[in-house]
Structures are given as structure tokens and as C-alpha cells.
Symmetry: C2
Subunit: 396 residues, 2 copies
């Protein structure tokens, strides 16, 4: 993509209402635009990051047998009456018969009911990457807590508790992999079920000062506890805990038979008895992940995207050598994702914008670099510059 | 995917409220589930078809310089007041300050305003594949006319009419390619602009009895006219026109300065004058495409997916040879998309379901085929069966 033609543009000024580092940097660097409190547009740079994260999640969900579906946002109010969740304050109701889905147990459970007859039809799991709506009274912290946001929600269906527990652990492992692939270290926190369940549930927390939650962390075991519990020692290794702030990027719930009871979701067991299906649900805040990565991966100059989720791999800068740079751009673009700063502006501005946008590798083409036999490369997270011949760029 | 474990399941009975061939077949074959009038869930088979269509559209939009973005569904009512579209009856309003986006001119125009200063910033084009909401009083014809549906909307920005006209033609050509790749022949129809513009606009119509529009068609020129115009001869070649019914799968609009006027979207020309930006907008009904393909590509036994949008390329059936079939399934799955009917049911049921689901190539493994030296293959749209050795399947 040529920066001169991109809808994503950097800005020298910080948005006056940016209430967090992620809102400030993501807006200023041209990734998002705030449309209303807790409502954002994703510009081309931001859309690319979303696509990377979505693909990472998809891979891991497919690997644990998740089947991708897409459920609607307009959901019948009558379904929510069956679970007693029709009057939660966060629900938008565009008509008096409709709720904008803020979770999808009320849709997936009847859907599963038309599929499940006997124990032979179990277990299975289905997920979607879909837009959720929650009328948050305090939409805040940029993309951390939105009124409209992207979520991955996975639901699993089981014949017995042992099978649910086994899958719950598989999801746990998959979640650690997702966050790790996104460049984040996550901590598992035992939590309350909230609106979802009275059974066991866990949160995945990423340490950041921008997080909304106070947690007590054992760095060694990668475990943490809600600070309200005032546990002093790690329950696994006995080490002292350290209080930190965390951003909840994922959560997993043992739903038990709560929703199966509400929708009479039963199956015939091998012994011929009718039994209730047990369910689990598992969420990842996709747009919150974008915000969390920005909070964890930045410095004073701007963003520092991990390669796996960067909108581009190479930020190509031309200083007065547009013809040569154009040639390099075409060659590199055939093999990887390149942002080409072809704008007619000062070198200092181009360097500052490269730091702000935060693409992993900067490649500079100028009269000086060409005289030295190639291009200058610099990693975003290092001060070291190096001249290499153009055909060696991709090896870096 | 193994059919025994899939959330997509075929049904022997037709949904009692299926109001069209697409609703009937897509529901019965396990592609979608109706959640409310004009609101559908996409099950795994349907989600896969959507993904194929989305990818086809993405390729063609990127090829004409479209930059992918993602705008929100929750949009500020004040934006719609500026264009006078705040009181259209189809708009859902979840709060008294919010409209669920039924189109996105009111969002993209202010977005473009923050990017466009001078003629040097023009032209550009941005698109999204996103969920639209329209409170249709008569949601009908299955996925044809929904209250919630997937749409691709592209917007372009230009300094003058000649540049807009040139891009408008590029989009026209891209649209013909999209529909052709989806297995559909489309006709260009000159149309009125409706809620969008008083300038020129065109529809792309696919001929089907399930279509809502009556059009007069010239098969030779691939042109058509709205039947209400009562034109007797093709305006291009002079041939007689034939009245047909069509489904509008795409539409393109010359918006002129309508939205630039509303949001004061101007640029400084090369001569230093302030001028209004000219805009075009271009829609494709993504979920309507699924419905239209089903209407065009089916026979009495079921669906007939074109290869390009089929949920799987191969439908593998095992008749009592599960071990051998499992081996073939693993080998083929590494190279292409396979649905494996591993259910414990009668041969007749498996064959009927293969026809209903409509995957292009059926591969049968049975004692008889193995004795004859391999598997039996049959194309969905042909009666011819053939025995080939398993290593030759992919060549087919």
C-alpha cells in the first residue's frame, strides 16, 4: 500500500478525547477513528491487524474442532425471556421484540437442539467471529470497552462433566497459544461467572497499566487471582504474589446445564435415558486484543507491532529516490506486505511516522544508501541500522 | 469435515415457513437456520459459502484499488440528520441517538473528510464487508430480502466527473467478474437512484423466477431495462427484448456531490479553488448472492454449487468401508476441502443427501468399488459414474 493513497493517515495532533494510550496511538497512527463513545471505525491499517488476529484465532479454534458459524445480531426477545436475561441493562433493544446480541447462548442452544438427539451426536463445538453490542454506561479506554466490538465466541456441547472438563482444558491451551501468537503473555485467573454461570470460570489476563482489573500474579506459574480475594501466596507453588493491573482478553465458562435447562436441550444416553446436555462457552475480545497489544507494545515514539499481527511487515521509505524505491516496492510487494511511504515530505516526518505506525522493519532508500550499495534497514525495536543489498531484504 | 460431527445436518422435512426455493433448500441441506423473519444463522456449510464469496469480492475490490475498512453498525443519528435520511422507515434505532447502519455514506463521508485536503489526495476508494440492518416490513424470499444481511459496500472519491465516470466503469467490470466467478450471469440495468442519488445508477440483475424485479432483457448485449419503462427494443443493438424476472445482486450509484454537500467535503484544486468532492457508491448483497446462487443452481434433488463457491470440493461417501474411506479422507483433506459422510445410515439416504447438499464431486468407497480397483466418482451435475484409482481423484 502506498501511504500517499491510503485512507489511513497519521496525525500530528492527539485526539482531544483520547482516554487511553491505545485510543491515542491507534487514532494518531491511522488505525481507527472514533465514531461515538465506545464505537470505532477500523481504517485500512486497523482492518489489517483485525484480519491477522481473526486468522490466528480461526486456526486455533479449527485445531480444537471448532466449526465456524455466523449467528445474527438481531435476536428474538422471547429467547432471552427463557433464560431470564431479557432485562439486563446492557441490552440494546431496537424493537420491542428484538435484542441486539451481547452474547449468543440464547441462539446457539436452540440451534444445537435441532441437531442433538442421542449421545452419538456429542460432543461438538461451534464458534463465530461476530459483532457484539453492549450498552455500556461507561464505554472507555479506547477499544478496551466498547459498545460495539468484535468477539470470538465458542460454544461446546457434552454428554458428561468429564468430557466438558477435558474440552475446557483444550480450550485453555488454545487460548494461551492465541495470545502468545499475538505477542502477549497471558495469566489464567479463576473467576466468578457473572451473568453467565454459577460454575467454574476463568479469565485470561494480560498485564498492562491500562487494564481494568487488579490481580495478584505468580510470574512463575503464570497464574493469578482476583485481588478482591486477598490471597497471599500462590496456591500452586507457595510463592508470594505481586499485585498488577490486567486486561481481560479472554474468558471461559463451564455453563453446566443452565442453558440446556432453559431450552430443554436433552439427549438420549447410551442407557436410553434422557439427560441434559452440558455446555461450555469461551470468549475472546478481538477488538480488545488490538487495544491490549497497543498498550503492551509501544514506546514514546509510537506502536511496536509484533510481526504476527503487524499490518505490514516492511515500512519502505524513499528519500528522493522514487524510481528505485518504486522498483523495490514492486519486488517486495510480490512476496510480503509493504507500506510504501511515497509522500512528498521531509525525512524527519517520514521517520517519525514510521515509528508511530510501528511496522517491524523499516527499509530506507536514499542517494546515500544507494551509494553504499543498497538500502538501510532498521528494526522498529532496535537503534541499529545496517546497509544491505536490496535482494537480501527478505532474509531479514 | 465429518458429517457425523457437523452442526450442519440435512433434514427430511421442509421448514413449514420456507417461502422460497432458496429458503427451502438452504435450510433443508443444513446451510442456514431461520431465527426470525429476515434473520438467519449461517451453519458451517453456509459459513463456508459466505467465506468463498467474501474472498472473491475482496480479490476484485483490491484489484481496483479498494482499501478494506470496517465501519460500525451503531451510527450517530446526528449524521443522518445532515443528509435528511434520519426518518426513513427502514432504520432501526436502538437508542434515540443511534441508527443501525442500513448504508454507510453517513459514516464514510466524514471519515474521508479528515483525509482529503487537496486534489493530490484524490481519487481513492474504500470498502467493507459488513452487516447491514433494514427494518423491512416484508422480509421475504429467504435470504433474498433480509432485515439483517451481509453487504459489500464500496465508496469512491473523485476530483471531477471524468475521473468518477472512469472508476464507475472499472467497478462495473469488476462486478461482472465477481458474479461470473460466483457462477452467475448478470445483466446491467439502468435504474433510478432511490434513497441514494438523483444521478445515474445501475443494477446488476441475475435472471431467476425468484427475483423481485421485472426486467426487459437483451441476451446478446447483456443489457436490460426496468419493465416499467416499456422499452420495446434494445437501445444498443435494436433487437427485441424479452421480459424476465431478476434478482438484484449489485447496484452502483453516481452520488455526485449529494453527500459532500451534506458534510462539506471539499478539496483544494490545482488552481487553488475549493471544490466539492464527487462520490460513487457500489453495493453487492453478499447474503443475497448465496440465495441467488441457490435459486439458479439447483434441480429437483437439491443444490448444485459452482466449484468456486462450493462449501467443499469433494463429498466422500463410505458404504461399509470406513477404514479405507478414513484413509482416503485424510489424504484428500490435506489437499482440498472434503465433506466425509461417515454416518451409519443407508446408502440411499447418503446419496440423497449428497444430491441435496450439492457438492460438485461425489466420491464413493464401497466393497464393490474397491474390488473394481478404486473409488466411484460422479459429478453432481452429471449421471455418469466412473471407477478410478484413489490417487487420480484430485486430477478430477
Amino acid at each position: 500500500m502506498k501511504l500517499s493513497q491510503s485512507l489511513s493517515q497519521t496525525s500530528k495532533t492527539v485526539a482531544h478525547d483520547a482516554d487511553s494510550v491505545n485510543a491515542k496511538l491507534l487514532t494518531q497512527a491511522g488505525f481507527v477513528k472514533k465514531e461515538a463513545a465506545g464505537v470505532y471505525s477500523y481504517l485500512p491499517f486497523g482492518r489489517r491487524v483485525l484480519a491477522k488476529i481473526e486468522e490466528t484465532i480461526r486456526e486455533e479454534m479449527n485445531a480444537i474442532g471448532g466449526q465456524e458459524v455466523l449467528m445474527p445480531a438481531l435476536t428474538p426477545l422471547e429467547n432471552w425471556k427463557k433464560t431470564g436475561r431479557d432485562d439486563v441493562p446492557i441490552a440494546f433493544k431496537p424493537t420491542n421484540k428484538t435484542v441486539l446480541g451481547w452474547s449468543h447462548e440464547e441462539i446457539i442452544t436452540p440451534l444445537a437442539k435441532q441437531r442433538i438427539k442421542s449421545y452419538r451426536d456429542l460432543p461438538f463445538a461451534a464458534y463465530q467471529i461476530q459483532t457484539k453490542f453492549r450498552n455500556e454506561p461507561r464505554a472507555k479506554s479506547g477499544l478496551m470497552r466498547g459498545r460495539e466490538f468484535l468477539m470470538k465466541d465458542l460454544y461446546s456441547f457434552h454428554a458428561n462433566q468429564a468430557d466438558l472438563a477435558k474440552y475446557y482444558d483444550e480450550v485453555k491451551a488454545a487460548y494461551f497459544r492465541v495470545f502468545e501468537k499475538c505477542g502477549l503473555e497471558s495469566f489464567l485467573v479463576k473467576a466468578g461467572g457473572g451473568e453467565f454461570t454459577e460454575n467454574v470460570s476463568h479469565e485470561f489476563q494480560v498485564l498492562t497499566e491500562a487494564g481494568e482489573d487488579k490481580i495478584l500474579v505468580c510470574e512463575k506459574c503464570k497464574l493469578a487471582w482476583n485481588a478482591e480475594l486477598e490471597i497471599a501466596k500462590c496456591e500452586k507453588c507457595g510463592d508470594d504474589l505481586v499485585e498488577k493491573k490486567g486486561s481481560e482478553v479472554g474468558n471461559i465458562f463451564d455453563l453446566g446445564a443452565k442453558y440446556s435447562d432453559a431450552f430443554d436441550l436433552s439427549f438420549t444416553s447410551a442407557e436410553g435415558k434422557s439427560e441434559k446436555v452440558l455446555m461450555g462457552c469461551y470468549g475472546i475480545g478481538v477488538s480488545r486484543l488490538v487495544a491490549t497489544i497497543a498498550e503492551v507494545w509501544h514506546d514514546e515514539a509510537g506502536l511496536l507491532w509484533p510481526e504476527s499481527v503487524a499490518p505490514f511487515q516492511i515500512h519502505l521509505i524513499s528519500l528522493g529516490e522514487d524510481e528505485e524505491a518504486e522498483k523495490i516496492y514492486r519486488e517486495l510487494s510480490a512476496k510480503t506486505e509493504v507500506l510504501f511511504d511515497d509522500r512528498d515530505c521531509r525525512a524527519g516526518e517520514k521517520f517519525a511516522d514510521a515509528d508511530l505506525i510501528g511496522i517491524p522493519l523499516r527499509v530506507l532508500v536514499s542517494k546515500k544508501t544507494l551509494e553504499k550499495g543498497g538500502v538501510e534497514i532498521k528494526k522498529r525495536n532496535s537503534e541499529k541500522v545496517e546497509i544491505i543489498s536490496t535482494d537480501k531484504i527478505l532474509q531479514k
